[in-house]
């Protein structure tokens, strides 16, 4: 045989290396990530991420739509935390407009965004544990997720793409009876987190698969653009809700959990503790929820009530104007950041004074976090790669936009 096999060693004396394509269609890549790994035996020598399979041009689309129409696009960016996206975009445009939202809307935004965090972390925990081999955790997590989706449906009529936050407040008045439903869920929730911990925290297989895996130094994480729970698991107590409070987060009492180990297990611990803290915030927001209007009194920006349009000529005109022409936003630029379940989410919105955004750039947490993945898996075995991918908790819609 004179022909060399395809995976022949490049240098004499080396073992043959194999290049393996993980994805873009692979269950443990949680979407359409393509990971190309070069293997020496079972050890990963080199890894490279290929993205763009879910690129939908949302940023371009935002330039074509009126400001208020683009809210529904932001849901689709990080589809596991749509309300965090809504919030970030609305806050950015409200800052450009100089618009204040009423207290009820602020508190409701905090409460629902924290429920979104729970929702997102539950999907992460379920799928991550499933990847590593613990099937039943998935069923437990999706049981609670269903309750949260029912709450979202009660508020907005939608389970996932709620678009419930609008520029200037909320889309609809909070439904009757929401207090009882949220209280019932949040009273039971800490016990549910205990159940997940019973299944995993001291589970020997879970410990063997996650402890000491995926470690990268804090400096490298910062340098690679990693944010959110992964940084906190490496020891940096930085949470945007505390550092640069928005939407009234300074009113709430919660802790920023940190670990110092920086491995997959530490990330698991940080996120579980975050779920407990989020539940505390939801409970505080539910208890202290102020009354009053749910949207700002800004007739040229916020749509009027349906009932008022039937009797009030002015309301009808405003409705017609906003729907057909949008509203003008003063020229300028803002970079609004929020702490999404995955880390720093930033909307850079540039206005040229018209009714459409001139440029919207979404600094999404998954994009930054994914850049650090090759560093976490190079030099480790292939099975660790699956555990690391789960612990990064990226959403491909969030990466590709």
């Amino acid at each position: 045989m004179s022909e060399k096999p395809a995976n022949a060693p490049e240098q004499a004396g080396c073992r043959p290396r194999m290049t393996l394509n993980l994805g873009p269609q692979h269950p443990s890549t949680h979407g359409v990530l393509r990971l190309m790994v070069e293997l020496d035996g079972e050890t990963i020598v080199k890894a490279e991420c290929e993205i763009g399979y879910l690129h939908t041009g949302i940023e371009k689309e935002c330039e074509q739509k009126y400001y208020q129409q683009a809210v529904t696009l932001t849901d689709r960016v990080d589809y596991l935390a749509p309300l965090a996206n809504n919030l970030c975009y609305c806050l950015a445009v409200e800052r450009l407009l100089g618009l204040e939202v009423p207290p009820l809307a602020e508190w409701m935004r905090v409460m629902l965004t924290e429920l979104t965090r729970l929702n997102s972390h539950l999907v992460w925990l379920g799928t991550h544990a499933l990847d590593v081999g613990a099937m039943s955790v998935f069923l437990y997590c999706f049981r609670e997720r269903e309750d949260i989706l029912r709450i979202f449906e009660m508020f907005s009529g939608q389970r996932m793409m709620t678009s419930y936050f609008r520029i200037g407040g909320l889309a609809l008045e909070p439904p009757r009876g929401w207090h009882g439903v949220v209280k019932k869920f949040i009273d039971a929730f800490p016990g549910r987190v205990d159940e997940y911990e019973d299944l995993l925290t001291r589970n020997p297989i879970w410990l063997r698969r996650t402890k000491g895996v995926g470690w990268v130094s804090l400096e490298d994480l910062l340098d690679c653009g990693v944010t959110g729970p992964m940084l906190r698991a490496a020891g940096l107590a930085w949470d945007i809700r505390k550092a640069e409070p928005y939407s009234g987060y300074q009113r709430f009492d919660f802790r920023v959990p940190t670990r110092t180990e920086g491995d997959v297990y530490a990330r698991y611990q940080v996120r579980l503790e975050e779920m407990r803290q989020s539940a505390r915030i939801v409970e505080q927001a539910r208890e202290g929820m102020p009354s009053g209007p749910y949207k700002a009194d800004a007739p040229k920006v916020v749509l009027p009530d349906r009932e008022r349009m039937k009797t009030d000529m002015e309301a009808l005109i405003h409705h017609f104007k906003i729907v057909t022409e949008g509203f003008r936003v003063p020229a300028g630029e803002v970079y609004q950041v929020v702490e999404s379940p995955r880390g720093e989410m930033g909307y850079y919105v540039v206005s040229d004074g018209t009714a459409r955004a001139y440029r919207v750039h979404m600094r999404t947490p998954s994009f930054g976090n994914l850049q650090a993945v090759p560093k976490m898996i190079e030099g480790r075995i292939l099975a660790d790669c699956i555990a690391v991918l789960g612990s990064v908790d990226f959403v491909l819609g969030d990466v590709d936009r």
Binding site: Q64, Y335, H361
Partner: protein, 164 residues
């Protein structure tokens, strides 16, 4: 030249003292600090801000296309310092004919994908980038979708007209 209103602020003042030619203009708007930097100085300024002023994080790199105005492109760097709890935006204006700027990947590794994305979407070339390829669009794609003269439906396909 740094406007007088910004001389009180420590970061712009320090940067001005370090290299008077680096800052072209600046503004403080809606609680955010923006500095326009001379494009040829961007790497030195970035290194100075990271090493001397604690801006250890590059939050994002993006661009804005002001077509048909010239200079056409604005490359925007959103920096963040966890220690100072402060954000800073740097801008470089580039001509449409020579949309090239030095890469800051040597200062912050996170710039890698962000610069590739800007190259992909706007066609701005980052000199000395280790691996400047398209990131999101297919490798053989023609054009740069986020440019203002790029139609929303693209050049190639026509959806509306069944005859075309």
């Amino acid at each position: 030249m740094l406007p007088d209103s910004l001389r009180e602020q420590p970061v712009p003042a320090a940067l001005e003292a370090w290299d008077p030619a680096a800052i072209r203009s600046g503004k403080w708007d809606r609680g955010e600090l923006t500095l326009e930097i001379a494009p040829e100085k961007i790497v030195e300024v970035a290194r100075y801000l990271k090493q001397e002023q604690q801006f250890e994080r590059l939050s994002a790199v993006t661009a804005v296309d002001w077509h048909p105005a010239e200079p056409r492109f604005e490359v925007v760097y959103n920096l963040h310092s966890v220690g100072r709890n402060q954000r800073l935006r740097l801008k470089c204006r580039l001509n449409g004919q020579a949309a090239e700027i030095d890469s800051v990947t040597a200062v912050w590794r996170s710039a890698d994908w962000y610069e590739r994305e800007v190259f992909d979407m706007f066609g701005v070339v980052f000199r000395h980038h280790p691996d400047l390829r398209r990131l999101l669009m297919p490798e053989n794609w023609e054009g740069h979708p986020l440019r203002k003269d790029y139609p929303v439906h693209g050049y190639k396909y026509r959806y509306a007209d069944p005859e075309g």
